[in-house]
């Protein structure tokens, strides 16, 4: 059974008076505890798809089925309640939080909104969430701008798992982090997936990262799917011109393929 099924999704914008398709007839599925990567150059529609799936923007056409039910027909309170199961982690962990917030408030919000824990119980739940993502529980009282970028992204992940979702959209979630921190965050994500059975929609332009975490990959260009399949297979021998260009742009991968030859 698939967690998310997207079919014939389209979103058009007007640019300079001319309509142009940001997302054009895109279909894909994500299974339970599976990681599907969306790859493609800038402007290929990756982030637009993420925002469509999360209902941050509305599509012009297509269907989104989440956990077997029509996700696009929901509105108001029903939609807000359903959001507990479908979370997101943003690229820039500083921009993703209210600049006035503290770590505790950021984690308190989802618990309060979805009635997951009583007011008295929440501080304990917040401490548990922080420990779950490898942070010290004492961090709760700190302001968001006081902690490091890597810690911030861990807090973002803690917030995303607070409501026990079945799917997390990771929009370039490790791209803004430096290399050593990136590896630790990817480890954390894999560990959470194994233990909590969470599916990921993993958006990245970095095929090296995608190969490390994704089961399957979809390559996009100008809003259309140009190639899809098993992540390792596609990255090892891309068929589309964009796929080849992306592999060529990833230095480490070029070297490995030369080593193999």
């Amino acid at each position: 059974m698939s967690v998310l099924a997207v079919s014939n999704l389209s979103k058009r914008y007007r640019r300079g008076g001319k309509p142009f398709a940001a997302v054009d007839d895109v279909s894909f599925e994500i299974g339970l505890a599976e990681t599907l990567a969306l790859a493609g150059p800038s402007g290929s529609g990756k982030s637009t798809i993420a925002r469509l799936v999360l209902r941050l923007i509305e599509p012009d056409a297509g269907r989104i089925e989440f956990e077997g039910a029509d996700f696009l027909s929901l509105s108001g309170g029903a939609l807000r309640a359903r959001r507990a199961r479908l979370q997101m982690v943003f690229q820039d962990p500083l921009a993703a939080f209210n600049p006035r917030a503290t770590v505790a408030r950021v984690l308190d919000d989802p618990l309060r909104i979805h009635g997951i824990a009583s007011r008295a119980e929440r501080p304990r739940r917040i401490a548990a969430l922080l420990e779950r993502v490898g942070l010290d529980a004492g961090l709760a009282g700190r302001a968001i701008h006081e902690i490091s970028g890597g810690q911030r992204q861990r807090v973002a992940i803690a917030r995303a798992i607070a409501t026990r979702p079945s799917l997390i959209v990771l929009d370039e979630a490790v791209s803004a982090l430096d290399v050593s921190v990136r590896g630790q965050i990817l480890e954390l994500l894999l560990d959470l997936q194994r233990q909590e059975r969470i599916a990921y929609l993993f958006i990245s332009h970095d095929l090296g990262v995608i190969r490390a975490v994704a089961h399957r990959v979809v390559i996009l260009d100008a809003g259309r799917i140009v190639e899809s399949g098993d992540a390792r297979t596609v990255i090892a021998s891309p068929q589309s011109a964009i796929g080849k260009a992306l592999v060529a742009a990833t230095p480490k991968l070029v070297r490995t393929s030369q080593d193999a030859a």
């Binding site: 479908l86 997101m88 939080f97 209210n98 600049p99 006035r100």
Partner: protein, 276 residues
Amino acid sequence: MRQLRRFFRTPETVAGAAILVLLVAMALAAPLLFPRDPQAIAGPALLPPFQDWSLPLGTDRLGRDVLAELFHGARTSLAVGLAAAAAALLIGAAVGTLAGFAGGVIDEVLMRVTDAFQTVPSFLLALAFVSIVGPSLGVVVAAIALGAWTGPARVARAEVLSICERDYVAGARVIGMHPLEIAFREVLPNALPPVLALSSVIVAAAILTEAALSFLGLGDPNRVTWGDMIAEGRAVLRTAPYLSIFPGIALVLTVLGVYLAGEGVVESTAVRRSLS
């Protein structure tokens, strides 16, 4: 601390702050230094200033103590100025936030109402409002706020529109936060600084408008106001010009002080912003 030092770096802001401190001290000290009713007769009528040291600034046509009136007038000016500005900022910020955040029809309606208020000269609006409802301190505050909330509303809306594009608003939606909570807890506090920057201009304008209303006899009759004093002195402008000059000077200094201090606050925070 750094911000305080930056604030006191320019002589204008120091002067502005000094005037404001003096004004607040006057307002607070008025009932202590002049416990008697400032509108009661204190001596012979039209006593010139600097003659009798128990009445240093002399008396007006009815024999009231000009210095006592000046001190009590500071209370009125300050109270009306601050209350009207607070009301205007509150209404403006709420309307602007709702308009910017909701968009669509709500935005259109709220902004057309704002346009309507902006096309009517704010002083005429205040004049009409006080004439109809009747003069009292609360009505004067409401009348002034009625003409002053449009500026903050426009600034708040513009700021909210830019903040709504940021990731943390999307993040709040993703965790299922109610739109009203997003608007007033996530967006509004971050949209406030540029709106508050307007406050000095609004306070200064409110003090002037209150004085003008009192001058035209539409102030609260139970309170001493500087506008009243100037109007009173007008009848004897040739023989006792000091009756209009003293409250006039007080008014000019107050507006100048509020404006300079306000500018100083904006400058010091603006520098901080561009540095970070």
